[in-house]
Each structure stands twice: as C-alpha cells, then as structure tokens.
Point group: C2
Chain length 129, copies 2
C-alpha cells in the first residue's frame, strides 16, 4: 500500500536534527544489524549511559527507532514505520549512503564482538571501568 502521510516543516527539521549528530547516526546504523540494549550501544560508542539514553530518546521521538522493555533491559530497534513515508525514505537514505563508511564498518566489526559477550558481564564491566 502506498504511504501518503505528509510531514510539515517542523517534523522535517526534527528528522534532520536527529541525524545531525554522528553518535546518533552510528547508533542507528548499528540497529540496522538487529536490536540492541542500551549497555551494548554504550559499549559501542564509548559514551556515558545517560548520554546514550538521551540520544536514543531523540531517535525515538523522531520516529527512526523504537524501544521495548524486557525486565531491567531496554532494547532499541529500527522502527518499521508503517505510516510515515518520509521516515522510511530517510532510513533508507542513511543506510544506503553509509553502507561503506569507514566508521560504520569498524562499528559493525566491534558490534559482532559485543554481541558475542554475555550482556550481564558487559554491564558489570561498565560499572567498574
């Protein structure tokens, strides 16, 4: 079915703003490889949990990602966007254009390692260091 929802100027600048920060774009690109919990994104980006949390909130509010809570963990994933064409198009644009970016490639590699780790252990290590 065709997507017909229009966005307005404010919504467009909100979408653009969400993608105006490298850490947020990296987080989004990481999620295109599958859902991640906050501590995994923290590990990937090397930022404080509070900072990552705020970044994810921005991506969520823009509509690029969604979250689900399971126990103490919150998992983020790329939103399916059944309604808004503009968001789908931007998701595609980011994904396609950064497919071969150096940082994104490195992140993918690091991400594979992170996913192999036990999440409990990952969090424990983050508390210490």
């Amino acid at each position: 079915m065709a997507k017909y929802n229009n966005i307005n100027l404010a919504e467009l600048t909100q979408l653009a703003s969400a993608l105006s920060d490298a850490s947020r774009v990296r987080a989004f690109m990481a999620l295109t490889q599958g859902e991640l919990c906050v501590c995994q994104i923290v590990e990937l980006l090397g930022l404080a949990p509070s900072t990552v949390s705020k970044h994810m909130a921005v991506l969520c509010q823009a509509g690029f990602v969604q979250s689900r809570k399971q126990g103490r963990w919150v998992y983020y994933s790329v939103s399916p966007n059944l309604s808004t064409a503009a968001i789908c198009q931007m998701q595609q644009w980011v994904t396609n254009n950064l497919k071969n970016d150096g940082t994104v490639k490195q992140d993918r590699k690091k991400l594979r390692a992170i996913k192999k780790m036990d999440t409990e252990q990952l969090c424990k290590n983050q508390r210490k260091g």
Copy 2:
C-alpha cells in the same frame, strides 16, 4: 548515468545539520521555484541580511545550493548536483515531503509578490525599515 559517489559519516551529518533549521529549509524550498538574490530571501524570511548570508553559506557548503555573483547582487539557486547522489536524494526528499506544507505554500505566495517587485526598490526599502 548512475551516481556512485559515496559520502562518509561527517558529510552525512553535515547534510542533516544544514536541513535542521526551518529558515534554511524554507530558503531551499524557495529556490526550487527559481534563483533568488539575497535581498529577496531576506524579504521572504524577515531576517537580517547577515543572518541570511550565514544560512546560505551553510546550504552552499553542504552542497544543496550554489551561488553566482552578478554585479553587487549574489544569486542563489538549487545546485544541479551532477556528482553526489546523497545530495540529490535529499533535495528530492525535502521537495517532495514539503510540497504541501502550510508555511511553504505561504512562502510561495509571498515569493510571487517579491519577484514582481523591482529589486533595486526592494533593497532600498530594506535599508530604511
């Protein structure tokens, strides 16, 4: 011919940043109707010339628009982007998604009036008021 130039993370966030401000997006949308000199954009947006100049520099540096100087006037226009696919795609995305935006519609109307005015007279009025 297919466009194959890739962009990196920094370039992508630069493009997004350029579109993260409503005044800049309005200026860009105005230029999709044809080239404009600075004073015409000043008239449309109701901002100081220095502010508009800075906005246009940001759009230029990102690659969304280009400028040509003719005498004392500088004309801005949507860049043809023969090289970078990412920029073309974003130009299309903005144009398509804001086609029916309220502010953009108002701007188009105001723009038709501005284009009918004598540019010399327009500048003269701006110096006064």
